[in-house]
Subunit: 233 residues, 2 copies
Amino acid sequence: MKKMIIASTSTVHGSSYLEYLLPTLQLHFKGVKQIVFIPYARPSGITYDGYTAIVKKAFSNINIDVKGIHEFDNAKEAIGTSEAIFTGGGNTFELVNQLYKNDILSILKEVIAKGTPYLGTSAGSNICGVNMKNTNDMPIVYPPSFTTLGCIPFNINAHYLDPIEGSTHMGETRETRIKEFHVFNETAVLGLREGSWLEVNNDDIFLRGKLTARLFEQNKQPIELKSGGLIKF
Amino acid sequence: MKKMIIASTSTVHGSSYLEYLLPTLQLHFKGVKQIVFIPYARPSGITYDGYTAIVKKAFSNINIDVKGIHEFDNAKEAIGTSEAIFTGGGNTFELVNQLYKNDILSILKEVIAKGTPYLGTSAGSNICGVNMKNTNDMPIVYPPSFTTLGCIPFNINAHYLDPIEGSTHMGETRETRIKEFHVFNETAVLGLREGSWLEVNNDDIFLRGKLTARLFEQNKQPIELKSGGLIKF
């Protein structure tokens, strides 16, 4: 009964926060009056209140109310009784750290499995995978574990970037980093470019948006998946 | 008595492995016959033997022999009795993971403090700081801790990159990531551009190479440090 939108980014260049996704979200959250928002990833260290205000404004365009999880007395209960959930982007290490500290990973997984509509963007999408080992974020805090929700049977690399032709920078490309991951891990990784998202209908996972996505499997050449198609491997 | 070279990168664009540093290393390792090499960071998952062979070839240009730490029966003893040490670049998470697994962090710190000449490049430089929380690497393995050598009183951001003007990518810039770090941490961070290195003479730390470096302190505007100068703050 899973019903999820797992997006590479909240914002595409040249448009406002969540703007490109709003038509999709209107259908995804049909009938929902209030979304519980998880602001733990705190991009640029913004406060939970500040972050929630931005999300509230975006969802007011489709007449849905938003309440931050920090505004509830009991975070677990807030998730357990929520109509719908949105986890925003920011730093994946701090997000996962707070999910553990607030002990809400299992209840989150449980309600998603039962059909509570979920939206994740960027860090909020990374946590839908098996673990957070393919985040691009800086490890600014040390979470108790890298294990995440496992709502999908692979990992996400959000904001996937193709190698920049002619670059003289010697840092690793994204593809090199994911190949290094596969020296130590078996889990497949989907490189989701900005503007792409996954639509999860129970166990069917579709690629949406205009772009292809790059699938990396251990000991295989990476392949490009077409938008609109079911993701199978 | 510390004597360290802490370099942003092993290789600058258009030249061979360690080439730009060789004149410096010839002086730094004067009188040294054999360097113990720590290949744990394994860039692109290369084997310890393969990595050591590359390093051996580079140092043969200045007539110094290289032996991988994995070729010794006892890693701790190898560090304890070494004439000089080089930790190469690659994945900082796996490097730190192996430093803990092989239990050589304290002996490494000890011999560096006593004056054993040390060279670090990239990941091998990140570990000289207080912790590894400013690495750019992907968290492909979960190390037991992010705490590192603390041979210098600040952290390194290797391969420091300035924001790319006109970029439409929505991922965070390096500066934004370091600012996020300072929401949760007090440790200063030095952004070392490729081609820059630090020369540590006991407690004096000099910036070397042609470029400036960018110093980030909590609650302060970042500043550019000039090459040749002592690093003080």
